[in-house]
């Protein structure tokens, strides 16, 4: 059984889906019960992976089954987990029960379908994180899109049709380019299957790399989302039901950044080096731009959505710094963002459920009426701001110190000013919602959080402090895989010459070859180191 643990975990939500089919659509309690039980089981199944993971750079718990052999195409069911995907998988299984629990009273119509879509979504997300076969990855990648489309489109707010369409077409446009690039990559690699590891050492000509990097980068940039491809996100978030927003923010966006770390960068090292200044520029613009826009939002949820764009700008900056601190910081920041922004969306959901409005001006002085809520909101706010001692700090700090060490130094200085802006917009919204006099009569009857709502938040709050005070286990486990990813991606002429001496390289990596022709040493577009 233990050698099938990934499959068991990934597809366990499908069992729940099957069960749900046989439950009458009116027995809401049972439907909810089965859904939550399923996600909890999935979480429990992911625990052996977390505890059984051995800290090294290899893919673990690997499973390999031949799947499709059609003419020249060979697709395999090829899955495995390394330090990069490990925590994202855990984040997914950890977030899902919370998301399901948050729908308890929020969704009263078509509960059955809602739960089914949530569970299908989980399969898609887990599959995308564990897939080592590019074709398999693409299937899961698309699989995520469909349930999300329905979740926003059916259970969303007033403007949901526009929002879903925008979300769907935006993402689809990106995925199509990626699909083409995957196919091209397959043909460039010569006979074989879609095994990702096989593609890592291809040493493609720079021109090819550039086109293919752009295709991948575009798909992932939309998903992240990076400035200027971000406008689908505020719309999708505002229209999505709470659970949808939580999953979207906590996990789906990570697909984009994960895509860079796993695919776009190591597959096309020279191209990604060439585009580093561009991506860093967009990341930094994203941080500042989204923060400024977040500051003036009137809708709390939109504000949180824009803050997501800013946070993910930090992730991108760290990842493209391409050193241990930067990438590890970026990875941590993905987890942190999942926890704190997920929590923020839950918080917005709590007050929306009570007041059916998200306009900041409708609130004020809630601290008095809802002290527990106030405390939780405050902790999450400071986690989002990145206060030392909370998770947000560790990731942000490592990103910044990593990118400062790299050639992205000046970008870092600009990005660091984002720490001021995040305090401005988060504290301002907190003040306007929670502080002041409770003068809106509609708010005088508000009830504080109930036991279920507190129970939803507690795991997130615990993680905020655990990851802030003791991030060591997280960093330690991802470190070897990150080292390896950096080694693959960092193709500098001198590194390539020393390459044979490096111990951990994926099999099939042609070593000792000079970097691709046409790659000038110390590209002029780069800020020069030192």
């Amino acid at each position: 059984m233990s050698d099938m643990i990934i499959t068991l975990m990934t597809f366990s939500p499908l069992v729940g889906v099957l069960l749900l089919f046989f439950i009458p659509k009116d027995s809401h309690a049972l439907l909810r019960g089965v859904a939550i039980a399923t996600t909890v089981v999935t979480f429990l199944l992911s625990l052996p992976i977390m505890f059984g993971f051995v800290t090294n750079a290899e893919f673990q718990f690997k499973e390999f089954y031949p799947w499709i052999a059609a003419g020249p195409f060979q697709m395999n069911y090829n899955v495995g987990i390394d330090g990069i995907s490990l925590w994202l998988v855990i984040l997914t299984t950890f977030t899902m029960p919370i998301a399901v629990l948050s729908t308890w009273t929020a969704v009263e119509t078509k509960v059955k379908e809602y739960m089914i879509f949530l569970l299908l979504l989980e399969v898609g997300m887990l599959g995308a994180f564990v897939a080592l076969d590019m074709f398999l990855f693409y299937i899961f990648w698309e699989l995520m899109l469909i349930p999300m489309y329905f979740i926003i489109g059916i259970w969303g707010g007033k403007n949901r049709v526009y929002a879903t369409l925008k979300f769907f077409i935006y993402t689809m446009a990106g995925s199509l380019l990626m699909l083409i690039a995957i196919i091209v990559l397959y043909f460039k690699a010569g006979a074989g299957d879609f095994n990702l590891l096989r593609f890592y050492g291809l040493n493609l000509p720079l021109a090819t790399q550039i086109w293919m990097f752009l295709a991948f980068a575009f798909a992932f940039a939309i998903k992240v989302p990076m400035f200027p491809f971000h406008t689908w996100l505020p719309d999708a978030h505002t229209e999505a039901p709470t659970a949808g927003s939580v999953i979207l923010a906590a996990i789906l966006l990570k697909m984009g950044t994960y895509g860079y770390v796993r695919f776009a960068m190591p597959l096309f090292p020279e191209a990604s080096e060439k585009f580093t200044p561009l991506i860093a520029t967009l990341a930094v613009i994203g941080i500042i731009y989204a923060s400024l826009v977040a500051m003036v939002q009137e809708d709390v949820k939109k504000l949180v959505a824009y803050s997501s764009v800013a946070h993910l700008g930090f992730v991108m900056l760290g990842v493209f710094a391409l050193n241990q601190q930067g990438v590890a910081g970026g990875m941590l920041q993905m987890l942190n963002h999942g926890i704190s922004t997920g929590a923020l969306f839950l918080i917005v959901g709590f007050i929306y459920e009570r007041r059916h409005t998200r306009l900041i001006t409708d609130f004020g002085g809630l601290s008095k009426q809802m002290p527990v809520f106030a405390t939780i909101f405050m902790i999450v706010t400071f986690s989002s701001i990145g206060l030392p001692g909370t998770n947000g700090f560790v990731g942000e700090f490592l990103v910044l110190i990593g990118s400062f060490e790299s050639k992205l130094r000046w970008y870092t200085v600009v990005a660091s000013s984002g720490v001021i802006l995040s305090a401005v917009y988060m504290l301002w919204v907190f003040q306007r919602v929670m502080f002041g006099e409770l003068n809106n009569p509609k708010n005088k009857e508000l009830k504080d959080l109930n036991a279920r709502e507190v129970a939803i938040m507690v795991p997130l709050l615990v993680m905020i402090f655990v990851m802030g005070l003791y991030p060591k286990p997280f960093i330690d486990r991802m470190a070897p895989s990150i080292d390896k990813m950096i080694q693959i991606t960092k193709v500098k002429p001198q590194v390539a010459l020393q390459a044979p001496a490096l111990p951990v390289m994926p099999a099939g990596m042609p070593m000792g070859q000079p970097a691709v022709e046409g790659m000038p040493a110390g590209h002029p577009a780069m800020p020069v180191n030192k």
Binding site: Y289, I401, E405, V424, L427, Q431, G436
Partner: protein, 663 residues
């Protein structure tokens, strides 16, 4: 004791957790306040133990590092949760836990009957923990946890009366301005880390390791950049120009908070940080000059504003800003020991002053409440003659005022005079020294003036409170007056451990104590020092001068507010514009709104409604519309009539055949 140093921040953390989680259920004020006070007092006891053990060691062995647990290890970056004990941190923990204990005790009385009593004590404990992390941290990142942690607690405590909009605004302002400083701190940290790492392969943020490697640092250059960034951090935390405007607003918090956080401890963090990294700062003559100039300018600038305020706490707030300016002046001229010495004496007398003002406000509030009056309990124009009603508060307040004014024999005299002397005599800034000294002297005169103005307006003259409620004015209870007496006592005698050598009565214990911390910095400073020779006569002379200056300030205050109290009005009517400008704090808040706050909001709106909605979404929706338009056109072809399709097929066939034929 050294091994157990982690207990020092742990006790207040426990207090925070108990009161934070269970305070609401405990309800009993004595228990809540007792726990809070006991916890910080336990820290004080451990700190005493640490100090004793440190004293027992030979001077050069007085450094000890304790790693509690590994925190962030990532690649070559390493930051442990680790504490550093040396003479400097020992002074700081004694001040924080000692003054902290007294203020906790005081708060039991002062906060009596407040709805959020437990919340207050939880925050206060949390603050102490953060402050202790700040001063004990053995690397920059632990210091930074404390650094931001105290900012958080300051935010929570300024916003304690969160229903008041002004409190919420002040809290946010404090945090954001501190964040501006934190930005500088981070960039400074990055710069040092990167420079040592990339040039010497020393990847460290540990103070001891940086000190050991500090000889590698160049003079100026990268050090100037790094230290200026750190100094930006210090200006935010310690309310120096240009980031000082949050501190006067921070008076929205309860008075014990003003005493503990915004006078005695947190705001001195910037001074401490420069002291902690003296061996880096001294390597940049430029930064040293900036620190000294900013300090001197802040000292005089805030002092002028202090002369025109009528709110008792606001006068003290500007006084704090000004006194912090003196400390930075000291750091900037390389008088690190004197700066830390003033930090300590200031903690005594300023805490006493704030707590005294709290006692006054408490009494005023109580009396006004009895009469159902809504007069401002903090406005000195409503006070007067209070010495009759509150003798203990008056005496302790007077003693502390004398101390801050710089009258010989009291603690403030020793430390301030040391700063002024070193500003004059220290060898780093050439001709600028005398200017710095001059500014300091004038600021000292203003200090004596506004402090005695405060004392005269509050405690002397006739009682201006509504006569109806006069009989309800009482001295505060013991729980409030005991801390006042202790601090008042310290405000008198606290200076004798640092008596100038010149007086020759006692050796300057304090300076000797800190010698091991700062001797390396002094060593580095010799590189660009122009040592001049100053006679003892000169030192005596300047000391006498500074006493004269203080007396002049007091005399002016006496003339204006005691002998002839028509004078202030005459003054304001003669120079209305000047008075208005000073009263309105030289319009600094308005300037910041104009320069930063409004443009940021405007720019955000422009980006959102202009760029996001019009440009980006315009393109996105435009593309969508193009496709919809195209499809609308093509849809026209799908008529559903068989003959149309037949025509299409025929035409297609003709085209294909034609292509084949004419190819």
């Amino acid at each position: 004791m050294f091994e157990n140093v982690w207990l020092i921040p742990l006790f207040p953390l426990i207090g925070f957790l108990i009161n934070g989680f269970f305070g609401k259920k405990i309800k009993n004020e004595a228990v809540i306040g007792g726990i809070g006070t006991l916890m910080i007092f336990l820290s004080f006891l451990v700190s005493c133990g640490v100090l004793m053990q440190l004293i027992g060691l030979p001077a050069e062995q007085r450094v000890f590092e304790k790693v509690v647990f590994p925190w962030i290890h990532c690649g070559n970056f390493k930051a442990d949760m680790a504490f550093l004990i040396d003479p400097l941190s020992a002074v700081m923990i004694m001040v924080v836990t000692g003054v902290g204990s007294l203020i906790h005790l005081y708060s039991i009385g002062y906060m009596h009957g407040e709805e959020g009593f437990y919340r207050f004590f939880a925050y206060l404990n949390l603050f102490c923990m953060s402050m202790l992390l700040l001063v004990l941290g053995s690397n920059m990142l632990v210091m930074f946890i404390g650094w931001e942690g105290v900012g958080l607690c300051s935010y929570l405590l300024i916003g304690y009366y969160f229903e008041k909009k002004s409190a919420g605004d002040a809290a946010k302002k404090a945090f954001v301005m501190n964040r501006v400083g934190d930005f500088g701190f981070l960039i400074g940290l990055f710069t040092l880390y990167w420079w040592f790492g990339s040039n010497h392969n020393i990847w460290t943020i540990n103070f001891v390791e940086i000190k050991a490697a500090s000889h590698l640092l160049p003079y100026g250059g990268v050090v100037t950049i790094a230290t200026l960034c750190f100094f930006l951090g210090a200006t935010g935390k310690s309310a120096q120009l240009p980031l000082y405007t949050w501190l006067p607003d921070a008076m929205e918090g309860p008075t014990p908070v003003s005493a503990l956080i915004h006078a005695a401890t947190m705001v001195t963090a910037g001074v401490y940080m420069i002291g902690r990294m003296s061996f880096v700062f001294i390597k940049s003559p430029e930064t040293m000059m900036v620190v000294a100039v900013v300090g001197a300018c802040t000292a005089i600038f805030a002092a002028t504003i202090g002369t025109a305020q009528n709110d008792i706490k606001r006068v003290l707030a500007y006084s704090t800003v000004s006194q912090l300016g003196f400390m930075f002046l000291a750091m900037g001229v390389g008088a690190f020991g004197a700066g830390i010495f003033h930090l300590m004496t200031h903690a005594f007398f300023k805490a006493c002053l704030f707590l005294g003002s709290g006692s006054v406000i408490h009494a005023m509030h109580h009396a006004l409440h009895h009469g159902h009056l809504h007069d401002d309990a903090q406005d000195m124009r409503n006070m007067g003659g209070l010495k009759k009603y509150m003798p203990i508060t008056f005496l302790t307040f007077l003693v502390s005022t004398i101390a801050i004014a710089g009258i010989p024999g009291f603690s403030g005299f020793f430390s301030k005079d040391e700063i002024l002397w070193q500003a004059f005599a220290n060898p780093y800034h050439g001709g600028l020294n005398i200017v710095l000294w001059g500014i300091g002297c004038i600021a000292a005169m203003f200090t004596a003036f506004y402090m005695f103005r405060l004392v005269f307006m509050t405690f002397f003259g006739e009682c201006r409170i509504n006569p109806k409620v006069k009989d309800h004015l009482h001295e505060s209870p013991l729980v409030i007056t005991i801390p006042l007496m202790v601090l008042g006592f310290l405000a008198v005698v606290g200076g004798y451990i640092g008596m100038p050598k010149l007086m020759g009565m006692l050796p300057n214990y304090f300076e000797h104590w800190l010698d091991p911390v700062f001797e390396l910095a002094n060593e580095y400073g010799k590189e660009y020092a122009h040592v001049g020779h100053h006679t003892h006569a000169l030192e005596w002379g300047l000391m006498g001068l500074s006493v004269v200056i203080a007396v002049i300030g007091i005399t002016i205050a006496f003339t204006m507010y005691m002998a002839n109290n028509k004078l202030p009005e005459k003054f304001t009517s003669t120079f209305p514009a000047l008075h208005r400008a000073v009263y309105n704090k030289w319009y600094m808040d308005e300037l910041y709104d104009f320069l930063f706050v409004n443009p940021c909001k405007g720019f955000g709106n422009l980006l959102w409604k202009g760029f996001d909605v019009v440009v980006v979404d315009g393109i996105v929706n435009g593309v969508g519309k193009i496709f919809m338009g195209l499809s609308a056109g093509i849809r026209g072809l799908q008529t559903g009539y068989t003959h149309n399709y037949a025509l299409g097929m025929t035409l297609g066939a003709v085209v294909i055949v034609a292509l084949y034929i004419f190819r």
